[in-house]
């Protein structure tokens, strides 16, 4: 009688929209989530990811669109009727109840028997490895422990869907790494679908089966972590995924590639979307701009920050463009280095307002 998520086939968001007065926080979000998937909603502050999560939970009403769980429309239901588990950013543990009572609250609301509740809570405590803290009050626990109570409370009701709102943002770096692994482990153990909101692309990359990148209320790209890392669909997605170099320039066709003018030099890059001759944006990861003695691009170093096994550097090309790159050896401000980038790692986008 282990804790296992309820069965369902898919959760479908159909043109989900939400306005706050004149502000469109969500503009027609479409998404299908399958059972067992771990979905990350990724984006900067204000992109609408938390709004989307709260709409899914029922804590906010939709201004437009609908949400379907298999063939049942659920967006008209109140939160207490949806049966989704939710982990809040500030954990929202009931301060006047013990850990055990906190976790068992959802089961008590379902009217389960005391024995039932006891058993399930014990299982949940075992899953999050907090068995010996059961009688403590939330105020007596550390941040990481409170986190785990919040997770246990959400999963013990065996929901088809677990919603997590930036649950790790209040933890220190080390704890965050540990809890990341825990969250993934628990997700696989109980087999529910998880929708996880975060602004940290590293977190999204390591946890998710699929990532939904959002910006200004819209979905910019949905894909696996590799998709997003290797081939972001838009310049803003690329920038969010760490393609720090965003070069505005002109391109001319060069066979299957495009030749773009960077720092007074022609670099070859791979066109994404409809990039062709004309105004473009080229995105390059700093680690893909390699220092090579014969490289085409001459750059004057402006800063080099020590990061252990490499230096994070910035420099200026002859046309004044600022570029970010890495160096394994120590270089100084004022040095001149020559950079090159593999065309498959220079992503060229059409410069159109999209």
């Amino acid at each position: 009688m282990a804790i296992a998520a309820r069965d369902f086939r898919e959760l479908r968001l159909d043109e989900m929209s939400r306005n706050f007065g004149f502000v469109n926080a969500l503009k027609g979000v479409n998404l299908t989530v399958r059972r067992g998937e771990f979905i990350a909603l990724l984006g900067p502050s204000g992109c609408g990811k938390s709004t989307a999560l709260n709409c899914l939970a029922g804590l906010l009403n939709l201004s437009g669109g609908s949400v379907w769980l298999d063939n049942t429309r659920i967006d008209q239901l109140k939160p207490e009727a949806r049966g989704f588990g939710m982990v809040f950013q500030n954990y929202a543990l009931f301060p006047h109840m013990s850990v055990r009572k906190n976790i068992g609250f959802g089961l008590a609301m379902q009217g389960r028997s005391k024995a039932d509740i006891q058993r399930k809570v014990d299982e949940a405590l075992a899953i999050v490895r907090l068995g010996d803290q059961a009688e403590k009050l939330p105020g007596q626990l550390s941040g990481g422990q409170q986190q785990r109570v919040a997770i246990a409370r959400a999963i013990v009701i065996e929901p088809p869907l677990v919603l997590m709102d930036e649950p790790l943002s209040n933890l220190d770096a080390k704890l965050r790494l540990e809890m990341r692994a825990e969250i993934r482990r628990i997700h696989e153990l109980i087999g529910s679908a998880t929708i996880y909101v975060t602004h940290d692309q590293e977190e999204a990359l390591s946890l998710a089966d699929r990532i939904v990148v959002m910006r200004a209320g819209e979905v910019r790209q949905v894909g696996t972590p590799e998709d997003l890392y290797v081939r972001p669909a838009h310049p803003d997605v690329a920038e969010f995924m760490g393609y720090r170099n965003q070069i505005r320039s002109h391109a001319t066709k060069a066979g299957n590639l495009l030749s773009i003018n960077v720092g007074g030099v022609g670099l070859h890059g791979t066109p994404i979307d409809n990039a062709a001759d004309g105004a473009i944006v080229a995105a390059i990861r700093p680690d893909d701009l390699k220092i090579t003695s014969g490289g085409p691009l001459a750059v004057t170093v402006e800063s080099a920050q020590y990061h252990g096994n490499e230096f994070y550097c910035s420099g200026r090309a002859t046309d004044g463009a600022e570029l970010y790159f890495r160096s394994e050896t120590k270089i100084q401000k004022g040095d001149t280095v020559r950079l090159m980038a593999d065309p498959s790692r220079v992503l060229v986008y059409a410069e159109t307002p999209s």
């Binding site: 709260n54 029922g58 804590l59 906010l60 009403n61 008209q76 239901l77 109140k78 939160p79």
Partner: protein, 286 residues
């Protein structure tokens, strides 16, 4: 999100409940406003017996009340008392608040308790012994006694209201001022006072409003020449059988206008709830 009701699909039951709540609130407000309106209307009425509204309107009752109750003297006394109470409470209370906010000395909890007590214990309970002592010291029955008595709840009030304001000022600002050569006098004048000004203003306005309406303490300690407006009003109502109701209501209107004018001024600087919740913040210090 805090202002969003959880899912706005209201059931019939919830809608009914909301209507009931609002009906109750509106009932309360309507009755209260009507009560005030009765007083105002009556003060302008010529005769009002057995009808919905007075037979006619006049302003002569105000002149009559002014004479009869010597309102000019009473108003002067009221403002003298209130002014003195406000000033002295500020002079005693603000430095005390500063000391309590900045220093953690042995016995601090006791001192805070000492300041809480006069605010929690109602004026009547300590007013009678206080009046007795004042009369014994020959301060009772005149304006100094009234001022001293009214200061008993207001000095602690100023202290308790000002402590959070002082705590809000980063002590490092004071340290910086000293590092740059300011002595205590200049520190106070150029750094602390400007930063504390809004808090002091708020606290003193609240004291002002509360003292105008403070009945029991003045009642127990005032003599014939040292009655504040609210006490004079009480005596007028008490002897109402002898006097015309309209002139009493005229006096009541003068009282209301006096109080509400200062309330409106105070509300520009202060949230309404602060007039009430200072006692709570003292005891909820957990």
């Amino acid at each position: 999100m805090a202002t969003q009701a959880l899912g706005q699909q209201k059931s019939a039951g919830e809608r009914l409940w909301a209507i009931a709540i609002w009906a109750l609130v509106i009932f309360f407000v309507v009755n209260f406003v009507a009560m005030i309106a009765t007083v105002v209307v009556n003060s302008f009425g010529t005769r009002w017996l057995g009808t919905w509204l007075p037979a006619g309107y006049t302003t002569r009752w105000y002149g009559a009340a002014w004479q009869e109750f010597q309102l000019d003297d009473v108003l002067i006394v009221t403002f003298q008392v209130v002014g003195a109470v406000v000033l002295l409470s500020g002079l005693l209370g603000v430095p005390a608040a500063y000391a309590l906010a900045r220093r953690n000395f042995p016995g601090k909890q006791l001192v805070i308790l000492l300041f809480l007590l006069p605010m929690l214990i109602p004026p009547i309970t300590f007013g009678i012994p206080l009046a007795t002592v004042l009369y014994q010291s020959h301060l009772g029955g005149n304006i100094s006694g009234v001022i001293l008595a009214n200061m008993v709840p207001t000095v602690p009030f100023v202290v308790l209201v000002m402590i959070p304001f002082v705590e809000q000022i980063d002590p490092r600002i004071e340290a910086a001022a000293r590092v740059f050569g300011a002595g205590t006098g200049r520190l106070f004048l150029h750094v602390l006072l400007p930063l504390l000004a809004p808090g002091i203003l708020a606290a003193l306005l609240l004291v002002l409003v509360r003292t105008i309406a403070m009945f029991e303490l003045t009642f127990f300690t005032a003599g014939p020449g040292s009655q504040t407006l609210v006490v004079a009003l009480y005596y007028a109502v008490y002897a109402a059988g002898v006097r015309a109701g309209q002139s009493i209501d005229a006096m009541a209107v003068v009282y209301m206008v006096t109080t509400l004018v200062w309330l409106l001024i105070a509300l520009r600087f202060v949230d309404p709830t602060q007039i009430v919740t200072r006692a709570k913040s003292g005891s909820a210090a957990e």
